[in-house]
């Protein structure tokens, strides 16, 4: 029987009630008395020198309070980058400045040039149109290969080229990898594009700056996944505001998917301007602004080679990747194609030798940073596509080829630094074969063919490194931050509990799932526990939510803090029952003395802690509140196997996803309903990447061609099927107290190769010798491949 509360129960989400009744409190729902509104005048050219900005006419327009330009920010720091990558030669990456408002040059369409603050949003927008900007247009650098040519225009004049870094991993293995290729029985090579995407949370970004003259405190309300990270970056590096004078609030946030991790110029602007004009300043992004100012994702061009011996064992992998950074380094951009990508190139397989080369490139495009999966989808896609191609070339079953090469013994030291603590890849593949009814595929293919359609089956595996991240390790790899998290458990006098957490929920259901853990530990009702998140003035210093880390890292901190609570509560209970602390047991919310019928209730102990009339004050402090910080000792390694079945219409090239099945190993599960929902959402985004989505730039002018939902194809309800998901194959994480691995990104990481493998399978079944089609696998690309 499924549990009805605590760990393992599909508790209904308590946050749903406010969202379903229109009572959510998103940042744009906040209005502060006296607030002014800002509209950003953004560059409409990809690359140019600012000759002049004439704000005279605009300044005289109705309602205009003040117009800011780059000159107003000369004394202010630029937006910082939080990760320094060291290149193959031991040199630090190129790290250009990133001003809040453009200074001297504009470097991508959407680069902010000026900011108009006015009494109303309409007045600010109207006045922005009256600003006269003269820009000397420069050649735009768009294509990454062209950007690295010697005669390419330079995005940053103060850098010697458009190369950010040339990274080799593991550099010491390069010669051995090359030698393995020289002696391989078979080599499969694939060149592919991992298409540029836009995260597109449905809530556009919003920022409200507020300044209190009385106290000298600044407050920023913002759509962020990590308010403390924003406070640290903006306060310490951009505006010079000490933490105790800066509060960052991220209330209900309407999705993030990575794009709301980063510190953005608009946040710094609103905070700065609110103090400058002594009025709250609000900015609400339009969707088209979001397309040209939210950090984009993916955008890799890769050549991967897989070497096999005569028995089809993988012997080596070698990759060369160009990774687009865009015009500036977004907060965590350099880490994505390197430490979140190269370290996953072993996949689920015991390939002994791996070498990964990544050249990160500046172009006149929007900055690129982490998007759901971040580096791991890029690794998974190329690996699982090249394995599929190898199986086809060798004439072997793609599932059997994978199984033959699975890692089966744990812990497993990969040749790319990370150590997988646990897993069972055959178990998830067995489960996949069951839930996807792979045995029944032939009959379904025959049925499709009978109606003139081609049917394909694509299978792949994935592994990810989640629970980000051990601070000592990432520090050595260039992270400029620790990646622990924190929780404070505040037990109130009457026994209710507030848990203040560093993680931020923007759809993940922490407000429901986190109390399930505490309730299980204490044996009290979930409804007595409330999660507080998203306000730096209320929560301990935690690093927020991304990288499928919330439960594995912040949840572990919460467990540790709750353990401290239990230890102290047992001391109090022992005193109340005049027993030895060692004999106290806590079960079902009751403290008992082992071997006796003595007991006191949870509420008796909590009341005693706050009304310490009969209390050992000489031994124990009053109160019942504990904080714990948790820094993981390793990443977690969720893994699984996915299968996609598509139908292809040979007349039009249209691909329809008929079935999608996902067998995941997330370790232990706290709320199965929420976990399934996370997988569903990831699958929707992965299918979107594979079939629909593409952020396109004009290769000559650098104009953003997909800047609205008219041009950027988001997956819709009728683009996807019902999914079959399963997470019963659980090998609990060995190094965190809950044994959890994280589930937020798996669907987006694991699904694109399954879709493309399925399309190729369908075309091959129709007699077409198509080896690869780049994503998105649109009808026109499929039709062109078929009619070549």
């Amino acid at each position: 029987m499924p549990k009805d509360s605590g760990i393992g129960a599909s508790s209904k989400r308590r946050e749903d009630v406010r969202f379903l009744t229109g009572a959510g409190n998103y940042t744009d729902d906040i209005n502060i008395h006296g607030q002014a509104y800002v509209h950003f005048l953004r560059s409409d050219v990809a690359h140019g020198r600012i000759v002049s900005i004439d704000t005279a006419a605009a300044s005289a327009m109705p309602g205009v309070v003040r117009i800011f330009t780059g000159a107003d920010f000369e004394g202010v720091g630029g937006l910082p980058c939080g990760w320094q990558v060291t290149d193959r030669h031991g040199q630090p990456m190129a790290e250009p400045g990133h001003p809040v408002l453009a200074q001297g040059k504009v470097r991508h369409v959407g680069d902010p040039i000026a900011a108009v603050v006015a009494d109303t949003a309409e007045q600010a927008r109207d006045a922005a149109e009256a600003i006269g900007v003269e820009i000397e247009e420069l050649p735009a650098v768009v294509d990454m290969k062209a950007a690295l040519a010697g005669d390419a225009a330079r995005v940053h004049d103060d850098l010697p080229s458009n190369l950010c870094y040339d990274w080799g991993f593991v550099e010491e293995n390069k010669a051995a990898v090359d030698a393995a290729f020289d002696t391989a029985a078979h080599v499969t090579t694939l060149e592919l594009v991992n298409n540029r995407l836009v995260a597109n949370p449905m809530e556009p970004r919003v920022a409200i700056g507020d300044y209190a003259r009385a106290t000298g405190e600044s407050t920023l309300y913002t759509t962020s996944q990590n308010p403390h990270v924003i406070r640290l970056l903006m306060g310490a590096f951009v505006l010079g505001i000490p933490e105790h004078k800066l509060r960052v609030v991220a209330p209900d946030v309407g999705g993030g998917f990575g794009s709301k991790i980063f510190h953005y110029a608009e946040e710094a602007f609103c905070t700065f301007a609110a103090k400058a004009i002594n009025r709250p300043v609000k900015w609400t992004s339009s969707r088209s602004e979001a397309f040209m100012s939210d950090a984009h994702g993916r955008d890799h061009v890769t050549r991967i080679e897989l070497a096999l011996d005569a028995d089809n064992n993988f012997t080596a992998i070698r990759t060369e990747t160009l990774a687009n950074m865009g015009a500036y380094l977004s907060t965590f951009a350099p880490s994505v194609p390197t430490w979140l990508h190269g370290t996953l190139m072993a996949g689920n397989y015991k390939t002994p030798l791996i070498y990964v080369n990544v050249k990160a490139v500046f172009t006149n495009t929007v900055p690129v940073d982490a998007y759901r999966g971040a580096g791991r989808p890029e690794a998974t896609f190329q690996l699982e596509r090249v394995i599929d191609k190898a199986a086809r070339e060798l004439g072997v079953d793609p599932i059997a080829l994978r199984r033959q090469n699975f890692v089966t013994e744990f812990p497993y030291q990969t040749p790319v630094a990370v150590v997988y603590d646990t897993g069972d890849y055959n178990a998830t593949m067995d489960k996949l074969e069951e839930i996807a009814d792979i045995a029944g595929f032939a009959a379904r293919r025959a049925a499709s063919e009978a109606k003139g359609k081609l049917r394909g089956l694509g299978v792949n595996c994935y592994i990810e490194a989640c629970g980000i991240a051990p601070s000592n390790l990432v520090g050595q790899l260039g992270a400029r931050a620790g990646l622990y998290d924190a929780a404070t458990v505040r037990v109130n006098a009457t026994g209710s509990i507030s848990v203040m957490v560093g993680a931020h929920s923007h759809g993940q259901g922490h407000e429901t799932a986190f109390p399930q853990v505490v309730a299980e530990m204490l044996g009290i009702d979930e409804s007595m526990i409330e999660i507080v998140h998203g306000d730096s003035s209320k929560i301990p210093f935690g690093m927020g939510t991304y990288g499928s880390r919330s439960l594995a890292v912040c949840g572990s901190a919460m467990v540790r803090a709750t353990e401290k609570i239990i230890n102290k509560a047992k001391k109090i209970a022992a005193h109340l029952m005049e027993a030895s602390e060692a004999d106290i047991e806590l079960k079902g919310g009751q403290f008992t003395v082992a071997g006796t019928d003595k007991s006191v209730a949870w509420g008796d102990v909590t009341l005693a802690a706050y009304v310490p009339h009969n209390y050992p004050l000489e031994d124990i402090e009053p109160g019942l509140e504990e904080t714990a910080f948790y820094d993981p000792s390793n990443f977690t390694y969720p893994a699984g196997a996915y299968a996609c079945e598509v139908e292809v219409d040979p007349e039009t090239g249209k691909v329809t996803v008929e079935r999608f099945s996902a067998a995941d190993d997330f370790g232990n599960i706290v709320n199965p309903m929420i976990v399934s929902g996370q997988v569903h959402g990831g699958l929707g985004q992965g299918i979107g990447q594979a079939l629909l989505e593409n952020c396109a730039y004009d290769p000559e002018t650098g104009q953003l061609l997909s800047a609205s939902y008219m041009d950027y194809a988001m997956p819709r309800a009728d683009d996807v099927p019902f999914y079959a998901v399963d997470h019963s194959c659980a090998t609990p994480c060995t190094h965190n107290p809950l044994g959890v691995k994280g589930c937020g990104e798996a669907g987006a990481i694991g699904s694109p190769p399954a879709v493309v493998n399925a399309v190729i399978d369908a075309l091959q079944s129709g007699g077409k010798t198509v080896a690869h089609i780049d994503m998105p696998v649109s009808p026109s690309r499929v039709w062109a491949a078929m009619n070549g």
Binding site: L20, M202, E203, G677, Y709, A717
Partner: protein, 161 residues
């Protein structure tokens, strides 16, 4: 500036707006009914769907002045006065049909319009009807399931967890 008046969730309201003021802006900024969300500027995302005289309308695609004299229903008017969720809202909670909640008001209002006209829609009809409502969190699985469940159909055969 035009003077407008309408009924919103059964309450008579009026206001003075610029001619260009959208119905979504009027609801959010003038009436503080912030449950209606704006997620795009091209009429694609559907987060702003409300009912105008019983018809589902994208309120960012309608001028406030156009709605003058109409009866408007928003997400804030869907639950009972005591806060009890209606059947469709309850189905969204029961089947985890929402995550971040931003698209949810539009989804509920759009789905409610479907069920009014088509009380027992097929899966394909639900998906086709919701084509104008984008959700980035759920992959649509549990939204479609919730709408089917709200129509009284048995959804136990649809992969649950």
């Amino acid at each position: 500036m035009p003077q407008i008046s309408m009924t919103v969730n059964g309450r008579a309201v009026s206001g003075e707006v610029e001619g260009r003021t959208l119905l979504s802006t009027f609801l959010r900024d003038h009436l503080s009914l912030t449950g209606t969300h704006v997620g795009c500027d091209t009429g694609q995302c559907g987060a702003c769907v409300v009912h105008v005289d019983g018809v589902a309308v994208k309120s960012c695609n309608m001028l406030a002045a156009e709605a003058s004299g109409s009866s408007v229903g928003t997400i804030e008017g869907q639950a009972a006065a005591d806060g009890t969720l209606n059947a469709l809202q309850q189905a969204f909670q029961d089947h985890h049909g929402l995550q971040c909640g931003f698209c949810t008001p539009g989804m509920v209002m759009s789905a409610a319009a479907l069920l009014k006209d088509n009380p027992r829609p097929s899966e394909a009809e639900v998906r086709a009807h919701l084509e104008g409502n984008l959700c980035r969190c759920t992959g649509y699985h549990n939204i479609v399931k919730a709408v089917l469940a709200a129509s009284g159909q048995d959804v136990s055969g649809i992969a649950a967890e």
